[in-house]
């Protein structure tokens, strides 16, 4: 059991989630344009990650945690980077349309899509031509999504106090969940920002390819700092409402849990060795194990589960269609089954359980898990409440912007082609050796 294994499992889960979501969203005809767009974007977010996670796992394995540049690390590392260049702008695009639409006119929508396209193309061109460079502005999307979703959260939570039972609290919660999905892995190291700890300020983003103290590193850490700030603001709002009204919902508790784990992480990292390791790795067994139980668990279990909740509970899936219903159920079962296997793998890491025994446990837990999952699925699926429905009588209701079916089709086709092209672009980066030689811009 290692971080590589968990990342591979995360890749598998992301693939299931991405493909099945694409299928169901495509069949969901009742959706408003922003919900449909959000459904497709979420699907492509996970499809992009279904390529990048296994690549990261393989690079970790062959480079022994990013310490030995063993071929063909360049190819798989580039492929991971290139697919992340789609993932990050997609998250930004998602923040522009969901849960409330920032793009409220056709013109704004065009500008939003143009910014998305430019972000992707700019990054890809810089990466393929000069390798890692500060021009890429890696982390920019963390800043943008944090500002948007945190603002949404605070606005709708305050509004919910004044006008309860109008669904504002749920809109706030979707915003917090989406921020958690995108930047939650980073919330575990929040203490380090304020204690000036090495594990935060020495974090190596790209296998030591960036010069230490470079603008790339600064900007990346700035983006992480702002995402941490967003989480703290959400937590502070949640705690304040708890103090005033005596209520804290599940999302507030989840954010609080992440932040408390962050406090434990601080002491775990302080007890460990140095921390200038590559983003995905840890340097000794305690920090490595802790990473698996926090960051890697977020990638493997947290992200897919959050996405499932949003897709099912907030009406992006049209579950009135029996075919959609059964496919969504299958998707939930797959995610629960694979996530359970991942949890068992993690337990096996700290408890001396043999593989045969853990396989037995897996069987038992799966049987129980699937039964539990069916009940949960029924509960969520029979009471979905869409964002459109919640905001229908509010000034926040998503304005009508006629988007043809072909536009969605072209969007999907373009992203599929992009992912195929990344396979060849990664090869170009590999043979040109641009990552090692660099472009001299670092």
């Amino acid at each position: 059991m290692s971080e590589e294994n968990l990342l591979s499992i995360a890749g598998l889960l992301s693939f299931f989630l991405g493909t099945i979501s694409l299928y169901i969203v495509n069949r969901s005809t009742h959706l408003k344009w922003n919900e449909k767009a959000a459904g497709y974007i979420l699907a492509w977010i996970f499809l992009a990650k279904s390529i990048s996670y296994p690549c990261d796992a393989y690079v970790l394995e062959i480079t022994e945690g990013g310490t030995k540049m063993t071929p063909p690390w360049e190819y798989f590392y580039s492929l991971s980077m290139l697919t992340n260049m789609l993932f990050m702008p997609l998250c930004f695009l998602l923040s522009l349309v969901f849960p409330v639409s920032l793009l409220r006119t056709r013109r704004q929508l065009k500008i939003g899509i143009l910014v998305f396209v430019l972000l992707v193309l700019h990054r890809v061109m810089v990466f393929v031509s000069v390798g890692v460079s500060p021009l890429e502005l890696v982390g920019l999307e963390y800043i943008l999504t944090t500002v948007v979703w945190t603002t949404n959260y605070v606005h709708f939570k305050i509004k919910n106090r004044r006008e309860p039972n109008k669904g504002h609290g749920r809109i706030a919660n979707i915003s917090a969940l989406l921020l958690m999905l995108h930047t939650g892995f980073n919330w575990f190291i929040w203490v380090g920002v304020f204690t000036r700890s090495d594990y935060f300020y020495f974090e190596d983003l790209r296998m030591s390819l960036d010069a230490s103290g470079s603008f790339s590193e600064y900007f990346w850490l700035l983006s992480l700092t702002i995402s941490i700030c967003g989480a703290l603001c959400i937590l502070a709002t949640s705690l304040w409402i708890f103090y005033v009204d005596g209520e804290m919902d599940g999302v507030g508790i989840a954010v609080l849990t992440y932040m408390l784990l962050g406090v434990v992480t601080h002491f775990v990292y302080l007890s460990g060795a140095g921390t200038s390791a590559w983003f995905f790795t840890a340097e000794d067994s305690l920090t490595s194990t802790w990473n698996i139980f926090t960051r890697q668990a977020h990638y493997t279990i947290g992200r897919p589960v959050i996405a499932m909740i949003i897709l099912l509970q907030y009406g992006i899936y049209d579950l009135s269609d029996s075919r959609n219903y059964s496919v969504a159920k299958l998707q939930s079962i797959l995610i629960i089954a694979v996530a359970t296997a991942a949890i068992l793998e993690m337990v096996q890491l700290v408890l001396p359980i043999s593989e045969v025994l853990s396989a037995g446990f897996l069987g038992i837990i799966l049987a129980l898990g699937i039964g539990w999952e069916e009940k949960t699925f029924h509960g969520v699926a029979t009471n979905p409440r869409s964002v459109t429905e919640m905001l229908s009588e509010s000034e926040w209701a998503c304005p009508e912007i006629g988007i043809s079916k072909n536009a969605y089709k072209n969007f999907n086709l373009t992203l599929a082609i992009f992912l195929l092209v990344t396979v060849f672009l990664a090869y170009v980066v590999d043979v040109s050796n641009v990552l090692i030689d660099g472009g001299g811009l670092g």
């Binding site: 409330v100 639409s101 920032l102 409220r104 006119t105 704004q108 944090t146 500002v147 945190t150 603002t151 605070v154 606005h155 305050i158 509004k159 106090r161 004044r162 920002v193 304020f194 000036r196 090495d198 300020y201 020495f202 030591s208 230490s212 103290g213 590193e217 600064y218 850490l221 700035l222 700092t225 702002i226 941490i228 700030c229 967003g230 703290l232 603001c233 709002t237 140095g274 200038s276 000034e395 926040w396 304005p399």
Partner: protein
């Protein structure tokens, strides 16, 4: 109508939430300013040097262990001298570096005109882990002039007693090359052969039948310590 409802106007039109949103934005700005000051000022040097590998000066505190043994070796025979090296004669945290052997003898018969005997020695390359193929080693020698025979064995690789400079992340890594206990532990066997000599055949005063040969073992052990260079 669509032009009127921009996102910003919707967010900031709500008087209840507006101050909180401004507070959130202020927190973003303040924390970013703090992070920037840490990155470019308070922790700047540490961040720039985070990949620098520390340099260590490794020095050795040497100690010599001496042992001496004298045997009467009969003419035409070979005697074995043994040296046992184990934890009892090597101090804790010390390692075996070098071995010097001095084989000495005199003409002890006291007979008139009896010349020095011919003594040859051979240190068998076995019994301990050492650098047996090292060019500096002297594993055998002989004398017929009653002069000392000097032997030498390089036991620990690269050890000559002088300081070395290494680059490594930690002090343990810096000392890792110098902490192998397996070198030099075991038993050495030095074979000494004596052949008595006569200057002129038939003179009874020149004849003797054996010789006292003394072997002095000098084992150099060392205790390594590392000091980080450039650390104030």
């Amino acid at each position: 109508m669509q032009e009127e409802t921009s996102y910003l106007s919707l967010v900031f039109s709500d008087e209840d939430s507006r101050p909180y949103i401004f507070a959130v934005l202020a927190v973003f700005l303040l924390t970013s300013a703090y992070q920037t000051s840490v990155f470019y000022y308070f922790k700047s040097e540490e961040i720039i040097g985070k990949y620098d590998v520390p340099t260590w000066d490794v020095s050795f505190e040497s100690a010599d262990l001496s042992e001496e043994e004298t045997q009467i070796v009969a003419d035409g025979t070979t005697a074995s001298y043994f040296l046992d090296i184990d934890d009892s004669n090597v101090m804790e945290n010390s390692y075996v570096g070098l071995l010097n052997v001095v084989v000495s003898y005199e003409e002890t018969s006291g007979n008139f005109a009896d010349p020095c005997d011919f003594v040859s020695v051979n240190l068998r390359p076995e019994g301990i882990l050492a650098q047996w193929d090292n060019q500096s080693n002297v594993l055998s020698g002989s004398s017929d002039q009653c002069t000392d025979i000097l032997l030498f064995v390089q036991i620990y690789p690269s050890f000559d007693g002088s300081n070395v400079t290494v680059e490594s992340e930690t002090i343990d890594e810096a000392l890792s090359h110098w902490s192998n206990e397996t070198y030099g532990r075991g038993e050495l066997n030095l074979e000494v052969e004596v052949n008595t000599q006569q200057r002129v055949e038939g003179l009874p005063t020149q004849q003797d039948t054996d010789e006292a040969v003394t072997v002095s073992w000098r084992l150099t052990t060392f205790m390594p310590t590392a000091t980080q260079l450039g650390e104030e």
